[in-house]
Amino acid sequence: MARRKAVLRDELITLAHGAGGKATRELVEALFLEELGNDALATLGDAAVVEGAGRLALSTDSFVVHPLEFPGGNIGELAVNGTVNDLVMVGARPRWLTAGFVIEEGFPVADLRRLVASLGAAARAVGVAVVAGDTKVVERGKADGLYVTTAGVGTVADGVDLGPHRLQPGDRVLVSGTLADHGMAVMVARGDLQLEALIESDTAPLHELAGALTGLGDALRFMRDPTRGGLATALNEVAETAGLAIVLDERALPVRPAVAAACEILGIDPLYVANEGKLIAIVAAEAADEALALLRQYPVGAEAVVLGEVREEPEGMVLLDTTLGGTRIVDMLVGDPLPRIC
């Protein structure tokens, strides 16, 4: 006997939708399956069983951005791109995702559907399937609307070995485009700064860029997507792990004028602001031009630049040659009370 197709008539999420009963089934089948459906997910088993293994990359990330929708993106899209980007940075091909939703009681179903549809579209765009998921509903006031957690699995080709241990003095540091767009877009969108500026988040999947760079073989040493903490924090981690120095050229830093102006007004250094669609690549000096050309063939990499280079000393530090001709340290971010942006 065929089961009747579930219908979701509610306009608001209630605690019943998280109770595990009929309302939960309606929500899962009529919203999540409809927007994210595939064979593995449709079994609604306790775990998804998928084909194809080998070397695997795994990653997970939680998203608590406020507001849920901001110029250039939303939490659904971000939840896919964030985890996909973590996978592709180690040279993996992203294959499967899981998604957990913590929804606040009273959340409009129409909004949920829009965000989940966006999550589904982002997954399809990258060619990953959301194969398992979970839904919880919490009391009003306990979750700021919606939190999403995604986990991802990707496959890694034999011989791919990227990491700070591969850095050599003389290697070049590239970034795939402008800095600080996501963090400033969200800060401005929150509206409590009373700034009006059209700044869009850069949220985007980096699978194409990373895939192209992987073609460089051994000349590609390392990739990282500089999210929270920004470029400065990501490079500090690399420099410290590698025991080498990274020296940047301030004149090469790509920052959009509106972003630079917003940062200036708020006293925020764009080097420390989150990006959600940019990658840092460290490549052998002789491969820098080719890497730049590979990045620039894609729209998300059109503004790629060479930012600096790896040096032997001072060990574990990131330096910036300033436009004025001075040199300063670029330290890690120290816990500023900045708003939630991812």
Partner: protein, 374 residues
Amino acid sequence: MKYVDEYRSAELARGLAAEIASLVRPRETVRIMEVCGGHTHAIYRHGLEDLLPPEVELVHGPGCPVCVIPMGRVDDAIAVAEQPGVTLATFGDMMRVPGGRGSLLEAKARGADVRMVYSPLDALSLAAKLPDRTVVFFAIGFETTAPATAVTLLRASAAATPNFAVFCNHVTIEPPLRAILETPGLRVDAFIGPGHVSTVIGTDAYGFIPREYGRPVVVSAFEPVDLLQSIAMLLRQRAERRCEVENQYTRVVRREGNAMALAAIAETMELRDDFEWRGLGTIPRSALRIRPAFAAWDAEELYTLPGARIEDPKACRCGEVLTGQIKPWECGVFGTACTPERPLGTCMVSSEGACAAFYAYGRLRRPTEEPVGT
């Protein structure tokens, strides 16, 4: 950014650096104190010291508003934040300053409602949004920020806002400058005068420095080219045997200051008999309190505050850093027990604090190992 690019021009900077080098004699030392924390931050952020000849030494002064707040006042703010029904609003930097009972950020983690705002008017808007709570603005800063607090008090008073108050910790710039100038044996040859404070109080307010203490002053803007130009102006005064107050920040600062801003301060605030400064001790008539006419919005009238005087940690030498007697790295706990993540002293908290700025940007080199003071 059209408005700042020309003030960050490498070409202009090189020209000024060459002029500065031509104005000093080989192997002499000219010590110039930048009073304002904003200047300290800009000097390190742009690597300005690399452009100066070794004969010019920059000494960091007391003008970081967060840095001069004593631990006891932080504890008072925490006591206010912990009152039932109170939301405490303050500037982001102030949230990390340690008091005797931890910081406001830690009080927030314990359950106090502490929020970051960018201006006192934001705190007043917050009061309108939270009618069931009383929003208390933890006001700090020199004459730079006092007018905004004054205007907020005037608006709260005009609207008879019942659920808003100010915990006033505003201070004035002249007393700490005098305290520094009277430090025995202090060797500061010239002053880069604060920019933002001067937009309010004007350049005439510094006349006592050349007149009574024989040191030249140039009031400066905040971009690297501005600062280099100010240093060149100070050295030119010396070469021409002049000693006066000059204004480099002419695009904003006037001799007489901003009469409206000064009137707003005078209407709402008056000088306290004395006020404790972090590292400088108690200085008479150096800070502002809310006038009795505005007592309904004065947190010090509305709440019983502990008002305790808390000794700085013994190892912390913020006082000597604030008065330019030692450089940040000469403090025994700099970068070890005291870091931006776990600050012992206020100079390590605000990005305008000399220790935090040096830690963040300047650890690479130490321009001089010689103590600046006695």
